[in-house]
């Protein structure tokens, strides 16, 4: 009788308790993915020098302090901005006023005309951040769509689904994300 071993504690429910804790942590941890528009800032300019860019190669977008657009010196609309930018960049009819193209040889794509167009974005200090992001978004969308179209044309698959890195780079080279932001000027005040 004395040699009887101590009765084991029933540990069967331990797993349940641990599971409960586990599920609690799984549910409460918000793995919210940070999303945003990625941009690369230009390095600071030492002395102001005018880089000669032909007028036809520049697509001017201005946003004033009351969030209104001026696209190529005409009042613009955010809804049509994307298509305007696309049309400008690709210059499908080889218009004299739209950007020049340069013949380049790119791996996977062969000889291809690369547009020299640059989108110049300028905003006022009083522009709202919301509007600025909307404009940036529309411009990004324009480039995304152009890349998509080219990707479908050459590889038969959308750019997002393109896994081959060299092919991605080829398309990025053929359609460079040319958004330039002008040096800030204090025009409208805060």
């Amino acid at each position: 009788m004395a040699a009887r071993s101590t009765p084991e504690v029933n540990a069967g429910s331990m797993a349940d308790i641990a599971f409960l804790l586990l599920i609690f942590f799984l549910v409460t941890t918000t793995m919210d993915v940070d999303t945003g528009i990625t941009r690369k800032l230009p390095p600071p300019v030492e002395d102001e020098q005018d880089i000669d860019i032909k007028q036809r190669n520049v697509f001017k977008v201005l946003v004033n302090s009351s969030d209104r657009l001026l696209v190529e010196d005409k009042p613009g609309n955010i809804r049509t901005l994307k298509d305007q930018a696309k049309k400008f960049f690709m210059n499908p009819t080889n218009d004299e006023d739209l950007p020049e193209k340069k013949l380049e040889v790119i791996e996977h794509l062969g000889e291809i005309y690369v547009s020299k167009g640059v989108i110049s974005l300028k905003n006022d200090r009083g522009t709202s951040y919301k509007m600025y992001i909307r404009v940036q978004d529309e411009l990004t969308k324009a480039f995304d769509e152009l890349r998509d179209e080219m990707s479908v044309q050459y590889f038969g698959i959308s750019f997002d689904n393109l896994v081959d890195d060299t092919k991605r780079q080829a398309i990025q080279k053929a359609i460079p994300m040319a958004i330039s932001e002008a040096e800030p000027e204090n025009i409208g005040g805060n």
């Binding site: 999303t35 990625t38 800032l41 951040y129």
Partner: protein
């Protein structure tokens, strides 16, 4: 001296589940450790703007955040947009120091991949954002990300 062993009752042998809690605990600890709860307590109000063409911000350990918005306690701190770095209000002049400190915390090899995420309220004026961008350019933190919520295009 014959000893008779009692024959065990033949039937299904129970699987020993004693180690099950340990396994689950291991999973639990894994999740507890890996979930990064490094988010600072916000003292400015931020409602990120919406955008469709957004990219995921990868490698969160290589991101430093700059928050811009109206202070939550606007009764004390006013309704002007302010910059928040770490847990305190800051001015535009503090950004360079902040970026330097953030860089020093990282491995030397990782430093060039450091991204600065600007988390600004949608009603912020661009003036303050432009100032931040100028400071970032001066210090050489060129990779930036305008934090925005993803919306889906209905047309697509």
């Amino acid at each position: 001296m014959a000893r008779f062993k009692k024959k065990k009752a033949s039937g299904q042998q129970k699987i020993n589940t004693a180690s099950l809690p340990d396994i689950i605990f291991m999973l639990l600890f894994f999740f507890m450790v890996t979930t990064v709860m490094r988010e600072v307590t916000l003292i400015v109000k931020i409602k990120a703007p919406e955008a469709a063409a957004v990219q995921k911000l990868e490698k969160k350990s290589l991101v430093s955040y700059i928050y811009v918005g109206v202070p939550l306690k606007s009764g004390i701190y006013g309704t002007e947009s302010r910059i928040q770095l770490n847990d305190a209000f800051a001015t535009v002049n503090d950004i360079q120091d902040y970026i330097i400190k953030e860089r020093e915390q990282r491995d030397e090899a990782d430093r060039k991949f450091l991204t600065t995420s600007i988390k600004a309220d949608e009603n912020t004026r661009m003036g303050i954002i432009t100032d931040i961008k100028q400071e970032l350019r001066k210090i050489g933190a060129f990779k930036i990300n305008y934090s925005s919520r993803k919306i889906y295009d209905l047309k697509k």
